[in-house]
């Protein structure tokens, strides 16, 4: 964050509270200003409605029809049969849900703590802190697709570094990290961690910079060691950032798609709900109703963290 942004933030924060009551009431505006303001609101709102919210509603509607995705006249009502199919018949659905949960658990239990640990260590005014930060942060810049490709080079059964390091390359014992359906989800999770930990680190580091040093001093005087300091003092103070990180972790695990798609299209041990949606939507094998039903399941699950986050964020304002 630039010093520029920060100081402005700082300078404006103090006055921000006081001047809020000066915020102009809409009713005080003249006619021309009202039109200008209405236009400024209407255009983004319209875009948001047409390209985000109406499609969301349509997804729900489409999940109750049978449609091959071609002509509108081919649409037929289907009742809840699409949901019956995914819950009762489709064998990939429950594994996919489990994988999403595993993804969430892994990010929460492994990736996020690694990010926190790195942030806490790097916050200690350590020599070379910036270099370390740059290194850990680099993967955050990369697209998940590229991460999939780069890790594929690393994991490759016959040509990858990992099997060379394990001494198994070229032997029948060479582990097929992306092909073995019992292992590939873990291999993908490690690749995802590579990015997620750096993301969490940078967010937490920004938060830690803001912790009042006198709190640390006081805790140190009370004889708290660094572990106690972190759990008793820092973590509670960092609550707002913690919430953000929890939400990011959940959303990222629901959105996980690119890595598994580039590995094998999200099949054979790498099923995720998002990938199943796409298998039923973009391929030649398009079955819109079933794809939409899967999308609605994803929507419903996603709404839980979204609503929790929004209610916490906007509680005071409304």
């Amino acid at each position: 964050m630039t010093a520029d942004v920060r100081t402005r933030e700082q300078a404006t924060k103090a006055t921000g509270q006081g001047s809020r009551r000066l915020r102009r009431r809409y009713s005080l505006l003249n006619r021309r200003d009202k039109i200008v303001l209405a236009t400024m609101v209407a255009i983004p709102t319209l875009i948001q409605l047409v390209l985000v919210w109406i499609p969301t509603v349509l997804s729900v509607l489409l999940s109750f029809v049978r449609w091959n995705g071609l002509a509108f006249s081919d649409i037929r009502p289907a009742g809840v049969s699409n949901y019956q199919y995914i819950f009762q018949t489709y064998p990939s659905f429950w594994p996919a849900l489990q994988h999403n949960l595993l993804w969430l658990a892994f990010l929460a239990v492994v990736a996020t703590p690694i990010g926190l640990l790195l942030a806490v260590l790097l916050d200690q005014n350590i020599r070379g802190s910036r270099i370390y930060q740059s290194i850990f942060f680099t993967p955050v810049m990369l697209s998940l697709v590229l991460i999939g490709v780069i890790w594929q080079l690393f994991y490759s059964q016959n040509n990858g570094l990992l099997n060379f390091l394990l001494g198994t390359s070229g032997t029948p014992q060479a582990v097929d990290w992306f092909g073995n359906p019992h292992l590939n989800i873990w291999a993908a999770l490690i690749a995802a961690t590579w990015r997620h930990a750096g993301y969490v680190m940078i967010l937490y580091l920004a938060g830690l910079k803001g912790v009042d040093p006198s709190l640390r001093e006081a805790a140190a005087l009370d004889g708290a060691n660094s572990v106690q300091l972190f759990f008793r003092v820092i973590l509670p103070v960092m609550r707002p950032i913690n919430i953000v990180i929890v939400v990011i972790t959940i959303i990222e695990s629901l959105r996980a798609f690119d890595i598994v798609y580039i590995i094998n299209g999200g099949k054979n041990g790498l099923e995720l709900i998002s990938a199943l949606v796409i298998q039923f939507l973009v391929g030649e094998a398009q079955v819109i109703g079933i794809g939409s039903a899967l999308a609605v399941v994803l929507l419903v699950i996603s709404l839980v963290p979204i609503i929790i986050y929004l209610s916490r964020t906007f509680k005071k304002e409304s």
């Binding site: 303001l37 948001q48 350590i126 850990f136 959105r255 939507l281 999308a295 929507l299 964020t313």
Partner: protein, 303 residues
Amino acid sequence: MTETLAPQGVAPALAHVRRNKVRPRYGTHLFLVVMAIAWLIPLLWALFTALRPKADTDKYGYFSFGGAFNLDNFFTAWNQGGFANYFGNSVIITVPTVILTLLLASMMAFAVSRFSWKFNVTLLIMFTAGNLLPPQVLAAPLFEMFKHVSLPYSVSDSGNLLNTYTAVIAVDTAFQIGFCTFVLSNYMKALPHDMTEAAIVDGAGVWRQYWEIIMPLTRPAFAALGTLEVIWIYNDFFWPLLLIQSGNRLPVTTAIHNLQGQFLSNYNLLAAGAIITVIPTLIIYIVLQKQFVAGLTLGASKG
């Protein structure tokens, strides 16, 4: 929401004062060095592979130092892969998306943060929520909507909005507006009202307040958000995958998926292609690292 931004409000200098920096922490350093090496290995391995001719790796094995090191794979991958075209597509998609997103989001943010009216919080919630949805939720309806917008062939060779840059730009913009509005509205909320009040006294209308007073003051946030958005749009894989059918119109991030199939039997080329794709983000990262990190932390809400 100011809470999210609050930590940045404290002067950084203070945070470091009187911290114990005397005691050397060998354990910490050792840990960090090991982690840093582990973190770099995948990238360095890709670079190492990319620098070696396939003939040499076939002869000596990938895990070896024998043979030549040169940039041949990069040139071959560039030409065979057609990266010039894909990079061009990435620019065609990224630049308008980022400009549109920032412009529209700043208008929305201005309206919700500088004026009180009935639905401003409701709209802000709607915008923020939209940004957090997994894109797969909207895939089918958006696809069908674009398909059923009939256009003359002189405008689109698909006869509809599919397979056009416009479709990708529109959806990317719609998805990113929410996030940018959220961040910018927090930022604008904190700007002093004295300045606009003074302008109003001078008879400035809403547009002048927005364009001549608030926008210039918001420049640091724009720099941060702009950098962040360029990277995100550049990195977007999903929307072009869904909306663009012609291989030669894909942006580089989505095209690498095709190249992966094309170069599969030649890991050296694939590695070179991956490194080529990394380069633009790496340059932005090195030049604009501060802005990028600022953008991320500004709106730590991004999913």
